[in-house]
Symmetry: C2
Subunit: 126 residues, 2 copies
Amino acid sequence: MTKQERIEREVQEGVCEFMHVHEEIVEKVEKVMPDEQQLLDLSEFFKVFGDSTRIKILYVLSQSEMCVCDIASLLQMGQSAISHQLRVLKQMQLVKFRRDGKTVFYSLSDNHIQTILAQGMEHICE
Amino acid sequence: MTKQERIEREVQEGVCEFMHVHEEIVEKVEKVMPDEQQLLDLSEFFKVFGDSTRIKILYVLSQSEMCVCDIASLLQMGQSAISHQLRVLKQMQLVKFRRDGKTVFYSLSDNHIQTILAQGMEHICE
DNA sequence: TAAACATATGAATAAATGTTCATATGAAAG
DNA sequence: CTTTCATATGAACATTTATTCATATGTTTA
């Protein structure tokens, strides 16, 4: 989008009246904006951490691999709720699992996850 | 909660039938569980990153301080929407601001934020 | 002091999300 | 091969959440 195009759009849509947008800043930052899709993926990724049930699951799995019933017992929640959330965690590749007979054991898929949890903890503990 | 208390509850509530909970694991992990409130705060913290508008705002602010109209222009969204989301970011202390006449300039409050964004990027780019 | 303007905010609406309930799947044991 | 049992899943419901619209606030300039 050229400068002129943007200004035209701004005027047309009347967004923010846009008389005082700082054009230099906007132009500069626009050039380095990542893909729309990438930022979307990023927010989807963080969304997974943004639910207390899932955070708790991630936390307990950071201590030990565990089956669905173990997690349900620890969190005092129903099996179905845990299973649904594990699916979300699986889809985002935050957990992996292995099957042992009738039991499925879940664990964290890599240690990025622990790093991110730790960073978050640090921030809220400030 | 003692082992017996938990088992009683499990039986009573019928959660997961609980015949095959791995008691050793559950007991061990229960001992190191952080405060309920702390995990709640943690999920609230990550929830802020879990929206594409807010992620975009955080990203553009990582490039330069900016006023509300600049952000609205860059993201092609209304002023009100941006302002509402900035409030959320402010409340969670992810952004700070300074006033200059009629204009309010926002910026990231510290570099934890950039670290977390970068970790997230790394994960999704794998 | 009045007008202009950047930002903030409350209420309403639409969309997304988490849990529950009922039931399905698939592995093991009899 | 039938039953049992751990886990998975679909549908329904309740709650949360993001955006829009209209308007308020607070600063500057005429």
